[in-house]
């Protein structure tokens, strides 16, 4: 449990490191990520090769930050069971075959691969957005986009509540394990009281945190400090990536590059 809390806090810490991507205006990264997500999901079920150039976005972000690749991959890895669950039945239901590079392959596998790539790319973009921006600044960027404050507040407080809940759970698990040597996990008979207690304790703690917020003038607006509008270099960042995403969406860049290379060679 402590490890999970550490993993969660790690993203906040990574976002605070000074580097060229982290220092960008949060709105810049949010808008670029949103555009990226829209472009990725807009590809058809069988358009796999055209999707591949979009790998550049997360790869380049990773290259320009000092984010630990292993940690980012681990987070993407956590979503793999869901991704596989989403697409694993496609090969069973779609038996039609197509020819790819001279090989005959079922369309089901193609769509599964397409879902897999899209999910990995979108999750990677989301994780990178949080790891380079941080939740608080992301909240401010959402407010700049005129997202209603109730939604932004909900998002930020839920994020905070997870660590409150996690802390209480860690304490209860420690107390339980010290009085239940040799037990693997929590005995089924204790599940009810354990969960109920956890809920009440975390409510209690959340109420104290909320009271501390109210005593310091919190009235529903979450201020993360003043933010200047994006600068010129940040506009170039957005526009550059937008141009790339649009090009990747309109043209099949790998096919075009392939024909260019084969043309040059021949």
């Amino acid at each position: 449990m402590q490890n999970s809390l550490h993993q969660m806090r790690l993203l906040d810490e990574l976002a605070r490191r000074p580097n060229s991507i982290n220092n960008l205006h949060p709105l810049t990264k949010l808008l670029t990520t949103l555009a990226y997500l829209v472009v990725v999901v807009s590809f058809g079920r069988y358009e796999i090769s055209a999707l591949l150039p979009l790998v550049f976005y997360p790869v380049i972000l990773l290259a320009f930050t000092d984010l630990p690749i292993g940690e980012i991959m681990k987070r993407i890895g956590w979503t793999l069971p869901f991704i596989i669950g989403l697409g694993i039945f496609n090969p069973l239901f779609d038996h039609q075959t197509v020819s790819v590079l001279g090989f005959s392959i079922s369309q089901g596998w193609l769509t599964f691969l397409s879902i897999f790539i899209k999910c990995v790319l979108t999750v990677a973009a989301g994780v990178l957005l949080i790891a380079t921006t941080g939740m608080d600044k992301l909240g401010s960027a959402l407010r700049m986009l005129r997202v209603p404050k109730i939604f932004v507040l909900q998002l930020l407080l839920t994020y905070r509540y997870i660590s409150v809940l996690g802390n209480e759970l860690a304490r209860m698990l420690r107390a339980y394990s010290l009085r239940a040597p040799g037990h693997k996990g929590i005995k089924r008979e204790a599940w009810g009281s354990f969960t109920g207690n956890l809920l009440l304790r975390s409510f209690d703690r959340a109420q104290r945190v909320y009271a501390a917020m109210c005593l310091r003038g919190f009235s529903g607006d979450y201020h993360a400090g003043r933010m200047n509008p994006p600068e010129r270099r940040e506009m170039i960042f957005i526009l550059g990536w937008l141009a790339f995403f649009i090009a990747a969406r309109i043209y099949d860049l790998p096919a075009w590059l392939g024909s260019l290379l084969t043309g040059v060679i021949s």
């Binding site: 009271a211 501390a212 310091r216």
Partner: protein, 257 residues
């Protein structure tokens, strides 16, 4: 300086389960006073603090800060004047950096970012941790967390500081640092604690609470050296006033004060 005065008049409060936590409580605290509120567990100290801060509202009686009666309407204004440091600093430190935590109050009160930044630096310098400004609160030691929690309140420039057990769970050195820090504040201070030695050192006046009512109110040395009164209220004399455990020699007889 009437705006620094806190008056509690005929206060009553019961919890929804019927437990009467505060009964007919009255006292006044004046500008610049440092007042220790002491009492056994369940005496009503924390409830009193919550009533003073407007987290709870009394069933009877009233609280007046300066010339303003504490109500739901005046609560926000009064909270700007009173700064409360919670017993558990983890309840008070919820942002991702110490800087953001200390800036949380001033930003909520709509101050300019330059002013906020100045207040953050000032408050952190005052509590002696300017070097921790960009650290994550969960990475601080117990003493550092306490100092950061105090800074979150100082940055709001309150007239009156209210502290719930400021030295609990601290090692001796950290406790000493917090005590020295408390002595440097010129604010009106209201401190609840079971650490009676700390109360003796930092407060000139003590209010003893027993079963939700004021059992005694007066000079700290007089009250804290009255073993019968303290025993009646479920307390003990501070260690620094107790007789020597080896020879039985009375410390009070050494013209300590």
């Amino acid at each position: 300086m009437s705006h620094h005065r806190v008056e509690v008049r005929d206060l009553y409060f019961s919890y929804p389960d019927g437990h009467e936590a505060i009964r007919n409580m009255s006292f006044s605290i004046y500008h610049g006073e440092s007042v220790g509120i002491i009492g056994a567990n369940g005496a009503g100290k924390s409830t009193l603090l919550m009533l003073l801060m407007g987290i709870l509202f009394p069933d009877g009686g009233e609280i007046v800060v300066g010339d303003t009666r504490l109500t739901r309407k005046t609560m926000t204004m009064i909270r700007q004047r009173l700064g409360m440091v919670f017993q558990d600093p983890d309840d008070q430190l919820f942002m991702t950096t110490v800087r953001d935590d200390v800036a949380f109050g001033p930003r909520n009160f709509g101050l300019e970012e330059a002013e906020v930044e100045m207040r953050v630096e000032e408050a952190l310098a005052q509590v002696g941790i300017p070097h921790l400004i960009d650290r994550a609160p969960f990475k601080l030691s117990g003493g550092e967390k306490r100092a950061a929690a105090i800074a979150t309140v100082l940055s709001m420039k309150p007239d009156i500081l209210i502290m719930d057990e400021p030295t609990s769970s601290l090692d001796p050195k950290s406790r000493r640092r917090v005590m020295e820090l408390l002595k440097t504040f010129e604010h009106t201070k209201i401190i609840t604690s079971h650490d009676l030695d700390m109360v003796l050192e930092t407060c000139q006046r003590v209010i003893v609470i027993s079963n939700g009512a004021v059992a005694a109110d007066g000079n700290a040395v007089n009250i804290l050296s009255d073993p019968e009164l303290l025993d009646r209220c479920g307390l003990e004399m501070p260690l620094s006033l107790q007789n020597c455990p080896h020879c039985g020699c009375s410390k009070l007889s050494r013209d300590r004060f």
